[in-house]
């Protein structure tokens, strides 16, 4: 091996040694051990009956220094994440979870009946949901009570397709929407009036969008969508959709 090549390898080795700590440490989640946060609430079914042994967990994420996440609760590849606490509901449907306050997180989400690595009682017979976008200012007196959250038996499930036509071109067929009601795989933002739902199945076109939801039968759901920007602020329209026993196709002319 020539001396020049040896010197080059040596330089590369030191470069890796110097760079590795720089790239690996800055994107880690940090916690305040002296502050303990309590998340509590109750899980009931579509008939308001308490559900026991339902997995509930808190998912905390921090994006990497390279940029933000492409989606609402998943960090980018260089970020960090923790299921910081988890439990199952008791016989009355109640849950309580305690965890140290994150110091530098980008998002806090509550997982309900999600099949994740800490799950011990994931129930595939029931719907699941995520409440995301929880911010430190939502945590009052070191706690957050989510109240009653409903999930439903998937035997009682049908399909809702919402098509929005004549959307302005600048939306590229992609606007903020929210479906309030009993929705499987529902993602709800704790603070925003609307959010992206990942059950969008397309096909995407420049002026229309199709959203497909798995919903409980025999309920009224409220569909909210961004219908324009006034003075730089998004405005929203709402429509109530009745779900019976059969699949529903609902069309909105923008």
């Amino acid at each position: 091996m020539s001396i020049k090549l040896y010197a080059m390898i040596k330089k590369l080795f030191y470069l890796v040694l110097v760079c590795f700590p720089l790239t690996s440490c800055d994107d880690r989640l940090d916690y305040i051990g002296t502050k303990k946060i309590v998340f509590e609430g109750r899980i009931v079914d579509e008939n308001n009956l308490p559900l026991d042994n339902i997995d509930v967990s808190v998912y905390v994420t921090k994006n990497g220094s390279t940029g933000g996440s492409w989606f609402m609760y998943v960090p980018d590849s260089r970020g960090d994440d923790d299921i910081i606490t988890y439990t199952t509901t008791d016989s009355n449907g109640y849950y309580r979870m305690i965890f140290p306050m994150p110091r530098d997180q980008d998002n806090i989400a509550l997982f309900i009946n999600q099949d994740v690595k800490t799950s011990t009682h994931y129930n595939p017979d029931y719907s699941n949901s995520i409440i995301t976008g929880i911010k430190p200012e939502n945590i009052i007196d070191y706690g957050l009570d989510s109240g009653e959250q409903k999930i439903f038996n998937l035997d009682n499930q049908t399909e809702l397709t919402v098509t929005i036509n004549n959307m302005p071109l600048y939306y590229y067929g992609y606007i903020d929407i929210e479906l309030a009601g009993l929705v499987n795989n529902g993602i709800y933002d704790y603070n925003l009036p609307a959010h992206f739902n990942y059950d969008i199945t397309g096909p995407y076109e420049d002026t229309s969008a199709h959203y497909v939801f798995k919903v409980a039968k025999n309920q009224d759901v409220v569909f909210t969508y961004n219908n324009g920007i006034i003075n730089g602020v998004s405005s929203y329209a709402q429509t109530t959709i009745h779900i019976g026993n059969e699949p529903v196709n609902y069309i909105i002319e923008y």
């Binding site: 880690r28 940090d30 916690y31 305040i32 051990g33 002296t34 502050k35 303990k36 946060i37 309590v38 967990s57 923790d82 299921i83 910081i84 606490t85 988890y86 439990t87 849950y95 309580r96 979870m97 305690i98 965890f99 140290p100 800490t118 007196d141 070191y142 706690g143």
Partner: protein, 204 residues
């Protein structure tokens, strides 16, 4: 860990062996008096607090150096590590380890039982505690505070300079945690109940 503790104690015994004969018995007055205790700990907890309800003791160790004596009272400085594994993620979070580090001053009163080999020594400890929750190399925060303890040592003399001893110590930890008033004491008033076995090296 046991092996390291025993090796450390034996090496200290060797170093003392050469000087044992020259060490005079302390008289009943204030005196500098150094002897070392090293021990293995079985950490425990009790009461309605997160250490007891959300963790289980795994292993621990400690050492203390006696500094001065007065009559049969002995004052030492020491360090004790107590390792716990988290058993309830809803209470103690989804973290693997809760490590309790005690830095303390210990005062014990030695009561000879048979004037030759056996001593029973009630003791109190006063000091600081640092609790560190971590999973592998990742830290989930530290808590600091004051710590007090009461307990008893039972020493059994093997030679003039080496004794076996056992210790039971109940600790009161007041770590700095802020939480909803309903849960604050659950996290900031902890009780340890540790049993230890070790070696005492040196002359009283």
């Amino acid at each position: 860990m046991k092996l390291y503790t025993i090796l450390l104690a034996l090496s200290l015994q060797c170093s003392y062996a050469q000087t044992t004969d020259s060490i005079a018995k302390p008289v009943d007055k204030l005196a500098f008096n150094t002897f070392l205790k090293v021990y293995y700990t079985f950490p425990g907890a009790s009461g309605d607090n997160v250490l007891n309800k959300g963790n289980k003791g795994t292993y621990g160790f400690g050492f203390e150096m006696n500094l001065i004596s007065y009559h049969k009272f002995y004052l030492a400085g020491g360090y004790e590590f107590s390792g716990y594994a988290v058993t309830n993620a809803a209470l103690a979070s989804n973290i693997e380890h809760t490590n309790v580090n005690n830095y303390y001053a210990r005062l014990l009163h030695q009561i000879p039982v048979d004037n030759t080999r056996l001593n029973v020594s009630p003791l109190i400890t006063v000091g600081a505690v640092m609790i560190h929750q971590k999973t592998a190399g990742k830290s989930y925060g530290k808590q600091r505070g004051a710590a007090f303890g009461v307990g008893t040592d039972i020493d059994f003399k093997l030679t003039e300079a080496v004794s076996l001893f056992g210790r039971a110590r109940y600790g009161f930890l007041y770590n700095d945690v802020t939480a909803n008033a309903q849960y604050e004491k659950f996290f900031s008033n902890l009780n340890q109940f540790n049993f230890s076995l070790g070696l005492k090296v040196g002359v009283d």
